[in-house]
């Protein structure tokens, strides 16, 4: 694979500019938007002189680019500012912990989604024309269509109140090999159901469509004509080709893990990043929002790159960096 190294270098050279644009935009939205941490703390009290004095002392009245420059300089030194949701607490002391929580349960959900969704999609495609195909897909679609605001209370009612099998919510961490893990507790079961069922439906549907497309290809017919066993045809020729486009989804799904879900985290009492960011918006917590934006943007750049490179390895037809390749 020639040209892969220059390609990576070129992509990495672009990264700072992307990050600059993203942070500049976010910073501007925060600074020019109304309200600031002092407003939040002050609440309904009205003492304009005091507020003005504090704003001045905290440098909130400095020119925009001074503030932005100061922020970025600190960020490059690993200081992501201070939170105003937890007043004065360093952002880096909070968000990584919260992100870790969110990543844990989302990663597990993602694994389940693909582990179940991919085979289900192939299975449905192979049964096209029989009742099993539409039945499977519409059954899955049902979960895809129900909003979590509906499914969560129903699950809680069934499993917590009626059956009494599970606590309705919570996040209990255990120390396993020095890691604080919350996914080895029964409280994780309901969030996992809520997250993975719609995901499975989406993946299965996509996988079904891909499989059907591949099944129509000449090489499949050839493989069958050669007298290969159906299992070999499906696993070696069909599945492998149908999986290709799914790589892209995995890449971005991984980044999506950082986002978390406000509803899932709030209704299940999971102290993750989704709920925290939502609170940060309400609290005008600029520094937290900046940090999350910065980290997510960086993760997207990396994921994008990794996906592209992985594509090149999985499918030799894809040429990186070349003009008009492929």
């Amino acid at each position: 694979m020639p040209g892969i190294l220059p390609y990576i270098v070129r992509r990495l050279l672009w990264a700072p500019f992307v990050l600059l644009a993203v942070t500049l935009a976010t910073f501007a939205l925060g600074r020019f938007g109304p309200g600031d941490p002092i407003e939040v703390l002050q609440g309904q009290y009205n003492n304009p002189e005091v507020v003005e004095r504090i704003r001045e002392e905290r440098g909130l009245d400095d020119p925009f680019f001074n503030q932005y420059g100061r922020y970025m300089w600190d960020a490059l030194h690993g200081e992501l500012g201070t939170s105003s949701t937890y007043l004065g607490v360093a952002v880096e002391d909070i968000i990584f912990e919260k992100m870790w929580v969110t990543v844990q349960y989302n990663l597990l959900a993602l694994i389940i989604i693909f582990a179940v969704g991919l085979p289900a999609g192939i299975w449905a495609a192979l049964r096209q024309g029989s009742w099993q195909d539409p039945f499977t897909i519409s059954f899955l679609l049902l979960f895809r269509s129900l909003p979590v605001l509906v499914t969560i209370p129903i699950l809680q009612y069934i499993f917590a109140i009626k059956l009494g099998w599970l606590p309705s919510s919570g996040w209990v961490e255990r120390d396993i090999l020095g890691l604080k893990l919350g996914i080895f507790d029964k409280r994780i079961i309901m969030p996992l159901l809520v997250l993975s069922l719609p995901g499975i439906a989406a993946v299965a549907r996509l996988m079904r469509a891909q499989t059907l497309e591949v099944l129509d290809q000449d090489f499949v017919r050839t493989a069958r004509a050669k007298g290969l066993k159906e299992f070999v045809v499906v696993s070696r020729h069909v599945a492998r080709n149908a999986l290709l486009p799914m790589t892209t989804i995995v890449g971005f799904a991984l980044v999506g893990l950082l986002g978390g879900s406000l509803f899932v985290e709030t209704l299940f009492g999971i102290p993750g990043i989704g709920r925290f960011v939502w609170e940060a918006v309400g609290n005008r917590d600029y520094d937290v929002l900046m940090a999350v934006t910065l980290i997510t943007a960086a993760a997207f750049i990396v994921a994008n790159l990794v996906t592209d490179i992985a594509y090149g390895f999985i499918d030799p037809r894809v040429r990186l960096g070349g003009r008009g390749g492929g």
């Binding site: 309200g35 703390l41 309904q44 003492n47 105003s84 004065g88 009492g269 102290p271």
Partner: protein, 561 residues
């Protein structure tokens, strides 16, 4: 305490419980996080608990939210105060009957009038009051340090002046930070004596000292800290209150542990665990994961149903607050009193409260909430009268040619709450006026409110302390900074000024009642309703006091399983 508190409380409730209908609850919803009632006042609980420790091994489990600040000098919202009042203490505190009683002070001092018009209070500090880490006893010096720290501009407290500004020299010190506050004097001969001098006789001054801003903090922890920097000490906050902060895991939980040496009587609980990570409150309660929960409008009909088992655990209690529609009386068309009166007469409060709010609140005719001294049962409110409303509108200087009207509200649901929706509907139906609505989240809302940007707004106000001054003078006095209506009536101002210094309580309350009636007739506000707690409490939780605003109350609670 404070109105922001109320909005934040409602927002917090929505965060924890009903994200989907968040906006619906911002106005007048249930605070689903709130910890419940027990307005029942059993006298023996007052005296139980001696420093020897009547503490049990029981833990109370509640749903809570993270405080924005655990620093008493900075805390201004309901969530923060809920914890701060349990962990810290000041010279005086509020008991469960809402009386101002001694805390670190040995007794409530008599105010002494000085020749120059100022008034002094000589506090004797109780001996043997220890900080939680038992490092040392609290002396007058600690109180002076704490008050001056709150006012020090380096602390950057946006609220200290509001609460401590009556003290002589406080305002000067708050802007320069030089010297000290001249009105706070130590006694060379007695390290347990402290004299506080205020600028004029103010019957409500001691009540203001029960607010967290005046609480005692540990100098060893707080030197060099401010509201916005070096706040890590707050997670090991060292106070003198009935409970010690044992653990604060951001966003996860707060654990308070009984201070068995508490000088007003040790708490009866061993500890309190606040779950900060959220969850479905009523479901958690039903599943025995928490012991107390607030009930939102979504669940209220179910728990009120006598055939529902939860009904036996349901309690309500009033809160000292008011929700109202405010007019900016300097903006068209509300500069004409007839337009304001027309808008007030066009609202059918019975319907609003009965249908929309499911009777979970108390209708407001005047400004002062029930329970507040001076609350006037005979006050003449503006009744629902659509005919009169229309007539007033056409008699106004705008006649039937009303300029565009917009009401501002606070919330973040992007949909209009049911209260606003109902009121807008009534104005449309009864006045034929289309009112637009502008919704912003609370920080922006309050900024615009202070800037006087709104024609009309819906908002609440919660008592900071039990004195009518906190509502009438703070919100509706011509020169008050918090008078967002820009209402100014010479008659009202003069009555409020007289009331400020009137020493005879009955006479004083009568002055407030006169002022209130004039205000109601002038309609800078349309009073809508006073909130109520709607709470579920497990039967084994006893003496769960439901105060009308934030007070230290956890030391009365006990669990009997």
């Amino acid at each position: 305490m404070r109105a922001l508190w109320l909005v934040l409380g409602a927002l917090a409730a929505t965060t924890a419980v009903v994200v989907g209908v968040a906006a619906a609850l911002v106005m007048g919803g249930g605070d689903d996080n709130e910890n419940g009632p027990s307005a029942t006042k059993t006298p023996e609980a007052q005296t139980t608990g001696t420093p020897s420790g009547a503490t049990s091994d029981e833990t109370l489990r509640l749903l809570g939210n993270d405080p924005i600040s655990m620093d008493p000098a900075c805390a201004s919202d309901v969530e923060s105060a809920t914890y701060v009042v349990e962990i810290f203490g000041g010279l005086v505190t509020i008991d469960r009957d809402l009386n101002t009683v001694p805390d670190i002070a040995e007794a409530i001092p008599e105010p002494v009038q000085n020749a120059d018009g100022t008034v002094s209070y000589a506090f004797q500090i109780r001996k043997g009051v220890l900080f939680h880490n038992q490092s040392r006893q609290v002396a007058a010096e600690d109180v002076k340090y704490s008050l001056e720290r709150a006012l020090n501009p380096d602390t950057q407290s946006p609220i200290a002046e509001t609460y401590l500004g009556d003290i002589v020299g406080a305002k000067e010190f708050a802007s320069t930070g030089e010297g000290g506050v001249s009105g706070i004097q130590l006694d060379q001969a007695d390290p347990y004596k402290l004299t506080v001098t205020i600028d004029a006789p103010k019957p409500y001054f001691l009540a203001k000292l029960t607010y967290p801003t005046a609480f005692v903090v540990d100098r060893n922890q707080t030197e060099g800290t401010s509201c916005f920097t070096n706040t890590n000490w707050q997670r090991r906050a060292n106070g003198t209150g009935p409970f010690k902060l044992k653990e604060w895991d951001l966003g996860q939980k707060i654990v308070l542990e009984a201070n068995s040496r508490y000088h007003l009587g040790a708490p009866l609980l061993a500890s309190i665990e606040y779950n900060l990570a959220g969850g479905s409150a009523v479901t958690m309660y039903e599943n025995d994961e928490i012991d107390v929960t607030g009930v939102g409008l979504n669940d209220i009909e179910r728990v009120r149903d006598p055939s529902e088992p939860l009904n036996a655990e349901f309690q309500t209690a009033p809160r000292m607050d008011i929700w109202y529609i405010g007019f900016n009386v300097e903006k068209t068309p509300f500069d004409d009193v007839k337009v304001r009166q027309a808008f007030a007469h066009a609202i059918d409060k019975d319907k609003l409260i009965g249908v929309v709010l499911k009777d979970a609140v108390i209708e407001a005719d005047g400004i002062l909430p029930p329970g507040m001294p001076g609350y006037n049962e005979n006050l003449q409110g503006l009744e629902f009268d659509p005919v009169l409303a229309k007539q007033l509108l056409s008699e106004s200087e705008y006649g039937d040619d009303l300029p565009a009207v917009e009401i501002a509200s606070s919330g973040r649901g992007a949909s209009v709450g049911p209260v606003s929706e109902a009121i807008l509907g009534m104005w449309k139906e009864n006045l034929g006026v289309d009112v637009a609505i502008r919704q912003t989240e609370s920080a922006t809302f309050f900024q615009d409110l202070r800037d006087g940007d709104f024609q009309m707004f819906e908002v609440g106000w919660v008592a900071d302390y039990v004195d009518p001054e906190n509502f009438l003078k703070v919100k509706l006095y011509g020169d008050s900074k918090d008078n967002e209506s820009n209402y100014r009536s010479a008659e009202v101002d003069s009555l409020l000024e007289q009331a400020d210094v009137e020493q005879d309580t009955a006479q004083r309350l009568a002055l407030y009642q006169q002022a209130e009636q004039i205000i109601v007739n002038d309609v800078p506000w349309i009073p809508l309703f006073h909130d109520e707690y709607s709470v579920l409490i497990k039967p084994y939780v006893k003496d769960y006091v439901l105060p009308p605003f934030v007070i230290p109350r956890m030391r009365y609670v006990h669990i009997e399983k």
